[in-house]
């Protein structure tokens, strides 16, 4: 009873030799397949180097290009030689030159001896596997693939498209149900002999030689036909990236590999000296048994795939710069924008900060400078308050601010006086919670004692800008959570909208708001609006302010008190 190793080798022959010696030392017979692309001289040197080992054979050489039939042909001829030459072999383990045994070989031999009838081969139907490199799964078996995916991608893709268009389909030979799985398997003598000696083999080989990546489906499918007992998993630890390329193990993976419970790992970087030194030792020096934790390896590699395909939301950097609509989120976290609040309430910012615990900035898109909280001129990430820098790339400024303050909610004020270049970005960002009290921009004008012609001109301009902004927030493409009240509406009942906004920002400790900040003095505001109208302007965003209203309130309570709920 023993395990025979079929080893497919194409580069790093020195390492392959080292691993072959390791297998051989444990008494495993080997059949080695060396790719045709290896120069004859190198091949001969390699053969000679292994001449001193007793049970090593070299099988007929094929060209093993990725995704083509060569890999299967190589496995077939090597397996055949293994079964013919080594009668004591009960299991055949398919490995590559870049595989590294992680556990003492004797453990593998014992493990397999205890399961004499089990075939270890990952094998699942196409409908059930998530690997769809190039968007092909079931079509691997129904289309033809005469062109190399690596070398002739254009022809490959065009031929696939053509076959789809013409509705060309291949017939799958009778009795076969296509299965796929890792190409690294360990089969029993019985199953392997049955596959290699199948009376239909010529037809199967003909069919699979035009299937795409047949090394992931040939044995996987035929084992389903012949095996009495399939253990659908690979004994070889092998992780694939999003393009179906195997991940490579380096010296710094040593601790990780020690905690894997797999027998063999691939692929190992040929110059990972520490790995080879650590694992290719005798049983005594071999791994100090640590608690196996294969899940950790899984996590690391699936995170790598995730990072490569989806990236970190809201991050713009040298190697992640998504085109529009492919950002997976314009910013990295939720934030709140307040328009008109700072104008209507005195000390709105400190009040909001106190109530929500969020960081509340002033007008960070304001004309003079970015008004960061507490008057800071630089904030997280060394982001400067320079208006010139900010306006040079407002989108980067916003994305940076939100990214740099991950974990802390940001709120800021916005008004029609600010740089409007960011406005459509804000409107299209689902992370933005935008609350607008329309027309409140008029309050500072109302309080200013400037020349009325000037005021009238400015009011007209600001109203235009705000109207446009509101239009944006209400557009079909807008994704921000926007709430818009006219000033008149808001003043009627300010408590409820504020409560909603604050609740949305995050869970509050106490229920209900502790009280509102004082509202600015609006006595005479209606009159002010009337004055604008008299000058021929039409202030409409404020809602309905009767001329008399402000006047009535004026004598007794310039600051209208609001009840605390």
């Amino acid at each position: 009873m023993s395990v025979g190793i079929v080893m497919l080798v194409h580069t790093a022959l020195g390492r392959a030799e080292q691993v072959a010696r390791h297998w051989s030392a444990a008494g495993c017979p080997l059949v080695i397949h060396v790719d045709v692309s290896v120069p004859d001289k190198t091949y001969r040197t390699f053969r000679d180097a292994l001449a001193d080992l007793p049970d090593v054979r070299f099988s007929q050489r094929h060209r093993c290009e990725w995704g083509t039939w060569g890999m299967v042909a190589a496995s077939q001829s090597a397996s055949k030689l293994m079964l013919a030459d080594f009668a004591q072999v009960q299991h055949v383990y398919l490995a590559s030159g870049a595989c590294l045994p992680l556990r003492p070989v004797q453990e593998l031999i014992d493990y397999l001896a205890a399961r004499p009838d089990s075939d270890f081969i990952e094998s699942a139907t196409t409908a059930d596997v998530p690997w769809t490199i190039g968007g092909l799964d079931a079509e691997r078996f129904t289309l033809r693939f005469p062109f190399s995916w690596r070398k002739n991608r254009v022809l490959f893709d065009r031929y696939v498209a053509l076959q789809r268009k013409l509705g060309m389909r291949r017939r799958i030979p009778g009795g076969l149900k296509p299965h796929m799985g890792s190409q690294w398997w360990c089969l029993t003598r019985r199953t392997l002999s049955a596959i290699l000696g199948d009376p239909e083999r010529a037809a199967y080989d003909r069919y699979f030689s035009k299937v795409w990546i047949p090394d992931e489906s040939y044995f996987q499918t035929l084992a389903r036909k012949h095996s009495p007992q399939i253990e659908s998993r690979s004994l070889t630890l092998s992780k694939f990236d999003y393009q179906g390329k195997p991940h490579i193990f380096y010296d710094d993976h040593l601790q990780l590999l020690r905690r894997s419970d797999c027998f063999v790992a691939r692929k190992i970087w040929p110059q990972a000296n520490r790995l080879y030194d650590a694992f290719l030792t005798d049983a005594a020096g071999a791994m100090k048994r640590t608690e196996p934790n294969p899940g950790k390896i899984d996590r690391i590699f699936s995170k790598a795939v995730e990072r490569r395909t989806r990236g970190r939301t809201g991050l713009y950097m040298q190697s992640r710069f998504p085109v529009e609509t492919r950002e997976n989120g314009l910013t990295s976290a939720g934030y709140s924008v307040f328009q008109g609040f700072a104008e209507l309430f005195e000390d709105f910012e400190p009040w909001l900060a106190g109530v929500t615990g969020a960081r509340v900035h002033g007008h960070i898109f304001g004309p003079g400078r970015a008004e960061f909280s507490e008057g800071a001129c630089v904030v997280n990430g060394a982001l400067s308050d320079s208006a010139a820098l900010r306006d040079y790339n407002p989108q980067a400024f916003l994305a940076n601010l939100i990214w740099n303050t991950r974990g802390e909610r940001q709120c800021f004020q916005f008004s029609p006086r600010d740089n409007q270049k960011i406005a459509s970005r804000l409107a299209s960002d689902p992370n933005a919670q935008i609350s607008v009290i329309s027309g409140a921009w008029a309050i500072p004008l109302f309080h200013s004692n400037g020349d009325f012609t000037q005021i009238r001109r400015e009011a007209a301009l600001l109203q235009q800008i705000e109207a446009k902004n509101i239009e944006r927030l209400r557009a079909g493409w807008a994704k921000a959570r926007a709430r818009i009240w006219t000033m008149a509406e808001f003043i009627e009942a300010p408590m409820e909208p504020l409560q909603t906004i604050v609740d949305e920002i995050g869970p509050q400790e106490q229920r209900g708001l502790p009280g509102l900040p004082p509202m600015v003095d609006l006595a005479g505001f209606g009159q002010f609006l009337q004055e604008l109208k008299n000058q021929g302007m039409h202030p409409h965003l404020m809602g309905n302010f009767p001329v008399a209203r402000g006047v009535e309130d004026a004598p007794d309570s310039p600051r209208k008190p609001y009840p605390v709920r």
Binding site: Q243, I248, Y250, Q271, R308, T309, Q318, S319, F321, N404
Partner: protein
């Protein structure tokens, strides 16, 4: 991209190559050890002037990463840089007294040398004040990276320039020969970079950092570009167009992902702001050999009088590449 545009790019590439050939005529070999270069060697190309004090650390740093051979152009140094380099066993040295600016800030010289010696080699083009950082650089040699890039069919690798500076005045701590400059200039700006896509060449144009924050806060457009593609599996058809910011053919500039994912990238720690900077600023102002007529040195001279430090409360102290990756300045991509 229309055929006409493609053709124009081809002409530009040809022009750049012809130019680098012409400019290369001024190079005189001082120590030619290029016969030592063997197949698969990883080569470093650099051009310098009066950087003697930085050289010992620079060479050791890159030898440790696994650079096999250095090909260096000495632009008429007078501080002994040339002698020091000529004596190194793994350095090939050329000398020129021609204009740095005339050779498009050294690009032409190096393009010529790369075409001649870099064909089918991985080539790293860095200045003596740039230290190349890539994911896992503390545990994996540069060959692990280039092997992996080869396996992924990737021919170029991006590494953004990250300006490093000391806490306190730039001339507060003098740099000692052989010392790791990051011991002094150990701070950087973690999150104030701005990116735009260059539609013509397809590369990203990155600006920001401490120089934007202090010297150029009023004129951001003039802030130096920080995007760099220093590591390329060279082919004699290739050519750098402007410093190592961009290349032709344009495909080499696509070192970033546009579909939401992250490709693998590194960082060039830029240890420019040491006590040596003030002297250089003085000297370069005289020569006007640098980009945009030494705009940066000028801005520095003007600003330095009143605002003697680049450091601010939100500066980050450099620890390792993992810190840069967490901050989002570089990425492991799918290399794990």
């Amino acid at each position: 991209m229309s055929i006409l545009q493609s053709y124009r790019m081809r002409l530009r590439r040809k022009h750049a190559k012809a130019r680098s050939y012409r400019k290369g005529l001024s190079l005189r070999p001082v120590a030619d050890r290029t016969s030592q270069i063997t197949k698969g060697d990883i080569l470093l190309f650099s051009t310098l002037r009066d950087e003697d004090v930085r050289l010992p650390y620079f060479l050791d740093y890159y030898r440790n990463l696994g650079i096999d051979h250095f090909l260096i152009v000495d632009n008429d140094s007078s501080d002994g840089s040339g002698d020091y380099l000529a004596a190194q066993p793994d350095v090939s040295l050329w000398h020129t007294s021609a204009s740095y600016r005339g050779a498009r800030f050294g690009v032409d010289w190096l393009n010529g040398l790369q075409a001649r010696y870099g064909h089918e080699h991985w080539t790293l083009v860095v200045d003596p004040d740039e230290l190349f950082i890539y994911p896992f650089c503390d545990t994996r040699p540069i060959r692990a990276l280039t092997d992996w890039l080869d396996g992924s069919n990737v021919r170029s690798f991006g590494a953004m320039l990250l300006d490093m500076y000391p806490k306190g005045r730039l001339d507060g701590v003098p740099y000692q020969r052989g010392q790791d400059p990051i011991e002094i200039a150990s701070w950087f700006d973690p999150g104030n970079y701005m990116i735009e896509k260059n539609r013509e060449y397809g590369n990203l144009w990155i600006q920001g950092g401490p120089r934007a924050r202090t010297f150029f806060a009023a004129e951001p457009r003039k802030t130096p570009a920080l995007n760099k593609i220093p590591l390329v599996k060279w082919n004699q058809r290739y050519t750098y167009i402007s410093s190592t910011h961009m290349l032709l053919p344009r495909g080499l500039n696509l070192v970033y992902d546009e579909w939401g994912g992250e490709t693998t990238s590194g960082v060039l720690l830029h240890a420019k702001f040491l006590d040596t900077f003030a002297q250089k600023a003085d000297e370069e102002m005289q020569r006007s050999q640098h980009y945009r007529a030494s705009l940066e040195y000028k801005a520095y001279m003007e600003n330095m009088a009143e605002q003697p430090e680049l450091w601010c409360k939100w500066s980050e102290k450099y620890i390792n590449w993992r810190q840069l990756e967490i901050l989002g300045l570089m990425s492991k991509g799918n290399w794990a």
